[in-house]
């Protein structure tokens, strides 16, 4: 059952359309991320769900009840703010108990639930501490506890982890997942950080310029992006202009300046609405992780010569920037044997290929993208 249903939600600030007719539903107990670059309208959606902004049009339903016009204090959602917004004049226990006081929970029960909640976020015994005595990570936990203790239908997150260093952020991601599983509360997490979104969520909603690009599982969004925007925003992608020279249904051969590759399941590799007619122009996309350096070890691959411009380490993988006739390519590989200035062959097989509408045309926006 959907705990949250957003229908034709729209928000305009003067001439600016911040949120453009967005539709989606979130199931009970799901962990959904809203992912988009800054200014894509993701925080505005969150603030409308919380009740801090009034939609220009559209409805917000929580468990089937229309709350579009309800004030924030009459909605069963709680928010973890980007600034955390912990009350500095109250102790940890008073912060967590703030909502419980408002809903009239008696003091004994309150104390009990606060203690329980502190246990969940691993801050037992912190009741009487002041907020400014806590580290950044501890404050995050208090903010989370303050939202969850009220047992809301949905907890909204407005990029609260953005201010943490990488290691602590990764730790908090796991904590969020654990706490979400323990409590079973629906989490809706807004972020511009694809890494965080991919790490924590069941499903992701990708937002661009106020419009929904795709709502799907993390794997599907990475493997089958619904638009060029999604492909480029979720992980990197290299693009090569090409045209279709042979077409036999969805079995096509793509040519780019004499480099040919045979794609047998072209329909399944298409990201945009791509014409698969003979002679049609396309863009061939390839993920940095799909690229191999060195001489191809099989037939029917797309290969191009280039010179290593740069290399950097990202944990187990090395990220190379390679200057090719198509411009700059990015490749992620475990192969560390190349150095800056080396000439190298860059290649990829057909099953790593995505097909996009050609670069010159503006990428057509997917039609809402709402999946059932």
């Amino acid at each position: 059952m959907s705990v949250l249903t957003i229908s034709d939600l729209r928000k305009e600030f003067g001439d600016l359309v911040a949120v453009d007719d967005v539709n989606f539903a979130v199931d009970d107990g799901e962990f959904v991320s809203i992912l988009g670059p800054s200014g894509s309208g993701k925080s505005t959606i969150l603030r409308m769900i919380a009740g801090f902004e009034t939609p220009t049009a559209g409805t917000i339903e929580i468990e089937g009840e229309n709350v579009t016009a309800a004030p924030p204090f009459d909605r069963e959602v709680n928010m973890v703010f980007q600034s955390l917004a912990l009350f500095p004049h109250l102790t940890v226990a008073e912060n967590i108990g703030y909502g419980l006081v408002e809903s009239g929970v008696p003091e004994d029960e309150r104390r009990e639930r606060i203690a329980e909640m502190l246990e969940v976020v691993e801050l037992s015994g912190y009741q009487d501490r002041n907020i400014d005595q806590l580290s950044g990570g501890e404050q995050q936990r208090v903010a989370l506890a303050r939202a969850i203790v009220n047992e809301p239908k949905i907890v909204l997150f407005d990029e609260p982890l953005a201010s943490l260093d990488r290691k602590l952020r990764q730790h908090m991601q796991f904590e969020l997942q654990r706490i979400q599983e323990e409590t079973g509360i629906t989490f809706l997490y807004v972020t511009h950080d694809q890494e965080v979104a991919m790490a924590v969520s069941d499903r992701m909603l990708v937002l661009n310029d106020g419009e929904m690009e795709q709502l799907d599982s993390v794997e599907t969004i990475y493997d089958k992006p619904a638009s060029k925007f999604v492909a480029q925003f979720i992980g990197d992608i290299n693009l090569v202009p090409a045209s279709i020279v042979e077409a036999n249904g969805t079995d096509v051969t793509v040519d780019s300046r004499g480099n040919r590759i045979h794609v047998s399941d072209a329909a399944g590799r298409c990201v945009d609405a791509v014409s698969l007619e003979e002679g049609a122009d396309v863009s061939v996309g390839i993920r940095p992780t799909g690229i191999t350096l060195g001489d191809p070890d099989r037939e029917d691959v797309f290969s191009v010569r280039g010179e290593i411009q740069n290399r950097g380490y990202a944990g187990d993988e090395t990220v190379y920037t390679i200057d090719t006739e198509y411009g700059s390519f990015t490749a992620n590989t475990e192969d560390r044997s190349y150095d800056i200035g080396d000439d190298v062959t860059v290649w990829w097989p057909a099953d790593e290929v995505y097909l996009f509408a050609p670069e010159t045309e503006t990428a057509s926006v997917s039609d809402g993208g709402g999946e059932p």
Binding site: A50, P71, P88, Y98
Partner: protein
Amino acid sequence: MSVANRGRQVLESGAEYVREHRRARLGLLVGIPASVLVAFFILPLLTMAWMSFLADMPPAPLTLEHYIRIFTGDTYITVLWRTAVLTVQSTIIVVVLGYVLAYSIARFTKRATIVLLLIILPFWTNYIVRMYALINIFQSGGVLDTVMILVGLANEPSGIMYSHTAVLIGLAYVWLPLATFPFYASLTNMDGDLIDASKDLGAGPIKTFLRVTLPMTKNGVIAGIVLVAIPAFGSFITPALLGGTNVLMVGMVIEQQFAASFNWPFGSALGMVVTVGVVLLIGVGSWLGAGGKLAGGGDE
């Protein structure tokens, strides 16, 4: 070895140089304002304290008679009490009006700077001129009476001039801008997300104000109270012009002792009483600001 020693010597003497000169700089920095304070504030205060125990203009023997005179007869107790009442009343009016004003500027005004400028503008007008403006409004047959009778709200002159009310309005009018600024500063310093967080957690606007906004701006409120209460307690021009002899405040009596009666020792004794009262007020204010809780902070 000798090279190393020499190097260390140079380093040490360099460090010493910096240390000494930093002290010297600090001495200058603190010393100049401190000596100004001692010469023009501490010494006069001590002189006043000493003079308040003199029987007559110096040289004269020491006595407690002035204090006895203040606290035994009705006259000065009445004046002190009236002064306290007017101070408390005007402070309450100023705090309520000033807070509402500051809140609406901080939350709902786009051109806050211009509005703040308009609020401070009367401060650049001479105090006496502003008082005469109020006299024009309050006096019998003045603007207030004319308008009230014209509109039909009253049939005869209000007689507000030379009354407690006139002085109260005058004091509130004069000190309102001064209190608005600390309120405004503390309101704009407060993170607006805290208000959203409170509402998000189920508190309505009034509860949010009492549980978050007011406690968070407590220091600004206390600063505003102190800023208004102290000059109001010592004021003498406003009551003299708007209240006349009907509304004697302690500042007027002190002024008379120094300027008209030339009874400086008695004036000094009254001044000491006011000073001690004000110091107590500041003490309570900073105690509240440091640790004490203002209403609404607890679990209600």
